[in-house]
Symmetry: C2
Subunit: 668 residues, 2 copies
């Protein structure tokens, strides 16, 4: 079988790995990326990005100072958005994300929030007249906007934001103010230095009453000079764990006046005399949130896939230690412990990617339903996407670190790209809804479902139908070979259901002794566990179902990966499966052996499985994960670019260490 | 009770927390740090460091470029070592580590390896004449040395190092050479720019035979100009996940000649004619390794303690969300989920610190025994310290990230210090023996013990006596309140013993089907689990024992912490306790409730518990973890120092974003 990943001059070990592949890689890549046409488009976008030198970095960004990184990112984002005709702008989930990943790497940039939050907010929250005015400016890039909601002292709980917008009917203006330091807007991407506009969320006061948080469009900087406007203090919030090419910022208002019509008035309005008009619909934007989540989940899957690719490729070229004495050092990928560290991460990446596709499709289904006024699926899918966001971002972060640690010392170097990948991905545990808060939202939904089941009034959609099912009393497992997909799902459903009702009963009991909120808090750890099982069940089910739709010659290898994913979950939480005698120890021991069997079966295809994710070196930006496996000379070349190596002797040698040694010597 | 941590002007919430404290903090601090005299010395060292402005940073290091950090670190290390008379040099475990932590923070520096590896190697490996010559130079700081062993392509497996030292009897010299790129020395701290000497480990060749890796002392740079000597290529290996103030380096030799007597000849020798004299003892340095491990474990405990301190203090001043509607936002420390994230980390920090003390004491006991030729305890303690190193470094890294994530968005900022703490601490999973390799070493020891037990010939020392005990068939647990320390230990012993014999049987079976090494590899995941249980058992046992020696008025609160540590381990691995019907579900459910009870009991003392670790703001270097709790104004002040804020408008605005917007505007 031809294999486009094998090229002359490659490391011999990695080539041998590729020759062992038992499936058609191109077909697998097409399956992973949603079809041959999508794969073809990836290749075209890659060619374009490679051909446009201005979309590249003059040197690896890890050698740049933060100011240089911010400048470099702003240069590239202008060039990138100058050339959006190269991609299908309507397909951000596919082409847009790939184009951006190739160009901007793992740093956000001056216009991240412009596209992801500023423009969508204008589209969703302005009335027609406002939309005409602002949207054209934003789309033409005549202004650069961000979205300023979070404050120094306030995150998740919007109702307590402190920034105020007092309406003054005399001048028909709002007065924006930050009454305290904790009211400072804090974190918005590109707020510090790049943006000259922002949608600002502030507590609206009119006619002496607070009407809660509302969005306003606010000019922050002068158009020509880019200097902050009077009454506005803003700046960069400093370096972070990751995304240091982005100027996340802070913003303080000192009685800044904006015209009345700068309040975004699609839903609520303030009339010239100060009369407040309430919004007609209260819960909006659920749909968009689900779409943003599907993108996040895909992005996380992609980061974990990249980490797996780097670590598995490196483990195939790194030789260390001998399994059999005097028979030569082995590829570290041959160690069972190494496989146990790495392959489950790859399996997770698949599980998460397939879930992202599914959420995107569900989003489209719900959007379609909503146009007919049908909101049936909305709560279920909103809960699922919140839960997925939490579980996926956490497992991704953990998985990336496992991949990094599996590369030993070299994983610690920024040459590996792991520090950058981790810093970027782990942010997903916090932004777009802190994970623990998200899990509790999911739990509220599940507790409602449990209540309905108890009352016999449940009408549960497919995703949580298991809560209402009776299910088996004992696992149907007899042997790993005869362990069918539906048995696996049934076993996970048992545990998920048990946990739902365990939490439900605990909560009910607690509610008899305390008010409902205190009771909830006293059960919150168990409630979070409940949500996690709900999500894990979904991930396994969806993964197995997806595999069954794969071209028949891909199914065997994908099935190994999916089963590894499921078996790993089951054996890592064996206690849950033992409860009420549902599973026996001999069954669990067999499944544990099943994990090792899966590792063994995946081993020969491991490199090709990651190849089929179709990462170009341009996207990985990792010396350890190079396609050609020629890691060591590349590490040396990379290191030589370190700014410390600009001179043979650091200019500061003569200030400290030199005099110290000379003085000591003179005294001896 | 007076509380030195309460001061005027502090945040009200944190002061109220401190007022709730039920124990004597000073007494607790003394207990944690090994006595009142030790605590007193800490305070004196702190005063000195604060009083010497040259030991401080001109600005927070997170705003410096890497070159600036390296320069700053080299300035401070010279000043620090100019003033070693301020501490008791014989007490590195106590005073030395504290002095260094206060001065150098979480960056290593130009002389880290000079003191930790270069000088000890000289002391251990030179003959008397060599020692006279080199040790005085090193101690006087007339030379700066490092220890160069690891190579680009070779880490753990020393026998395959590629650097060669060929003896030439004609000139009585060794010729050092790096025959390949993978032979490049890679990673040694301070090798890139700072050191002018190194102990280099190379394969010794004489009279046509390879005698394996041996240490040589090699001059790398000219004394005066600090330029690399002829035939020597060296430099910095580039930025890393952490410790970026250190110039970890690479080194290549092109047939560099050194005198015969630059081979360190305490054990092996090469005579002028090339005759090789074998070492008399083969296994040496075990003792030193144990000492280094005790320091590492203490350092890890200290990092996790710092992370817990930051997160718990911040959780006491951060208010977000309402548990009871309209009753005001609560301290996030009141959420059960937050307590469940944070308190187990604090409990681990205690467990690890107490283990470090114990290992240090055992080291001294063993050293004492060794002087009488008694090596009885050595293998046991070596195995234990290897296992502790693995479990502690992994749990510490995980724990730090939990603390960081529990601080939400602000945890992601470098102002929190978490990115720095994590980057520094997680390195411990890899250096001084990669964790998975370490765990397998421990497992070899445990399998030998199991074999002896099976044969009835076991003579096990206390640490692994449990392997030979019969133990209970069922847990003695009846209720959380009556769950005695010895019952807890007995339950953990059951699981640890089960796992030892499970792995042993699996290994024996595998050995019947394959050669011993392949069999080992096929069981290695289970073997690592075995080692982890061995260590966890030790940690719990040691923690409970240590608490029982605490002053009586401290015992109650410490006991809550120790039990939380144990209950968390038990409930996180419930499956292991269910096996063979050892524990019942109702017992496990009670222990799970016991976790929540411990959280509840620890809650009022949480801030004071971390206060009693006695971290000064100078050591924490965290805006979120400030003693005074005045986090928000400090965050704003910190951010203002960001290099991006030096000008209101970035100079690059007129290069990219400015022209883009102007052009767009002109076209509208």
């Amino acid at each position: 079988m031809s294999n486009r990943w094998i090229q002359p001059g490659d490391n011999v070990d990695i080539t041998n790995e590729r020759k062992k592949c038992t499936f058609d890689i191109e077909k697998m890549s097409a399956f992973i990326h949603g079809g041959e046409d999508k794969l073809q488009r990836r290749r075209e976008i890659l060619e374009y990005v490679k051909s446009n030198k201005s979309l590249g970095d003059p040197q690896p960004i890890e050698f740049m100072t933060r100011n240089e990184r911010v400048e470099n990112a702003s240069r590239k984002i202008v060039e990138m958005t100058n050339n959006t005709d190269q991609i299908d702008g309507s397909d951000f989930f596919g082409e847009g994300m790939y184009y951006q990943a190739l160009t901007m790497g793992r740093d956000l940039h001056a216009m991240s929030l412009h596209y992801v939050m500023f423009i969508p907010t204008l589209q969703g929250q302005t009335d027609d007249e406002q939309l005409d005015h602002w949207l054209s400016l934003a789309i033409a890039r005549a202004i650069v906007g961000t979205y300023a909601q979070t404050e120094l002292g306030h995150g998740t709980n919007l109702s307590k934001l402190e920034t105020t917008a007092h309406y003054d009917p005399k001048t028909e203006e709002f007065v924006l103010n930050s009454p305290t330091i904790t009211a400072a807007k804090w974190w918005p991407g590109a707020l510090g230095k790049s943006s000259n506009y922002a949608v600002v969320v502030a507590q609206l006061y009119t006619q002496g009453e607070c009407k809660g948080p509302h969005p306003f469009i606010v000019q922050l900087r002068e158009m020509d000079t880019h200097k902050p406007l009077k009454g506005i203090t803003l700046g960069d919030i400093g370096p972070k764990l990751g995304i240091n090419g982005s100027d996340n910022g802070f913003l303080l208002f000192d009685h800044v006046r904006i015209p009345r019509r700068h309040m975004l008035m699609r839903y609520s309005k303030v009339l010239p005399d100060g009369t407040y008009i309430k919004p007609q619909h209260s819960k909006l934007g659920y749909g968009t949130m689900v779409f943003v989540r599907s993108i996040m989940i895909k992005d996380q899957a992609s980061q974990l896939g990249a980490a797996s690719t780097i670590a598995i490729r490196y483990a195939s070229v790194r030789r260390q230690g001998e399994i059999i004495p005097n028979s030569g050092e082995v590829q570290i990928l041959d160690y069972q412990t190494q496989q146990y560290r790495l392959f489950p991460q790859l399996a997770r990446a698949f599980a998460f990617l397939f879930a992202a596709y599914e959420i995107r499709d569900l989003y489209m289904k719900v959007t379609e339903q909503l146009t007919h006024g049908n909101t049936e699926l909305l709560p279920e899918i909103h809960a699922l996407s919140s839960g997925l966001k939490s579980v996926v971002s956490w497992d991704t972060a953990q998985g990336i670190e496992q991949c990094r640690l599996a590369c030993g010392g070299h994983g610690y170097s920024q040459a590996s790209a792991f520090p950058e990948i981790y810093g970027y991905a782990v942010g997903g545990c916090t932004y777009e809804g802190e994970n623990i808060v998200m899990l509790q939202q999911v739990a509220r939904f599940l507790m409602k479902a449990a209540e309905e089941v108890k009352k016999g009034s449940a009408n549960l959609a497919e995703i949580c139908a298991y809560i209402g099912r009776k299910g088996e009393q004992h696992s149907r497992f007899t042997s790993v070979d005869s362990y069918r997909d539906e048995d696996i799902v049934s076993d996970l459903e048992y545990v998920a259901r048990q946990q739902v009702f365990r939490a439900y009963e605990k909560l009910r009991k607690a509610q008899q002794q305390a008010n409902s909120e205190t009771a909830w808090n006293s059960c919150s750890v168990e409630l979070c566990k409940t949500s996690r099982w709900h999500v894990r069940l979904y991930l396994v089910k969806n993964f197995l179902a997806k595999v069954s739709t794969a071209p028949s010659d891909l199914r065997a290898v994908l099935h190994d990966v999916a089963r590894l994913y499921a078996f790993d979950i089951i054996t890592s939480s064996s206690g849950n499966f033992y409860e009420n005698g549902y599973m026996r120890e001999d069954q669990m021991n067999e499944i544990r052996e099943g994990v090792y069997k899966c590792l063994h079966r995946i081993r020969p295809n491991a490199v090709s499985l990651v190849d089929s994710w179709d990462y170009d070196d341009r996207e990985l930006k990792s010396v350890l994960g190079r396609r050609d496996g020629n890691v060591y000379p590349a590490l040396l070349e990379w290191a030589k670019q370190s700014p410390l190596n600009k001179t043979e002797v650091l200019p500061t040698f003569d200030k400290y260490l030199g005099p110290m040694m000379r003085e000591a010597k003179s005294k001896l």
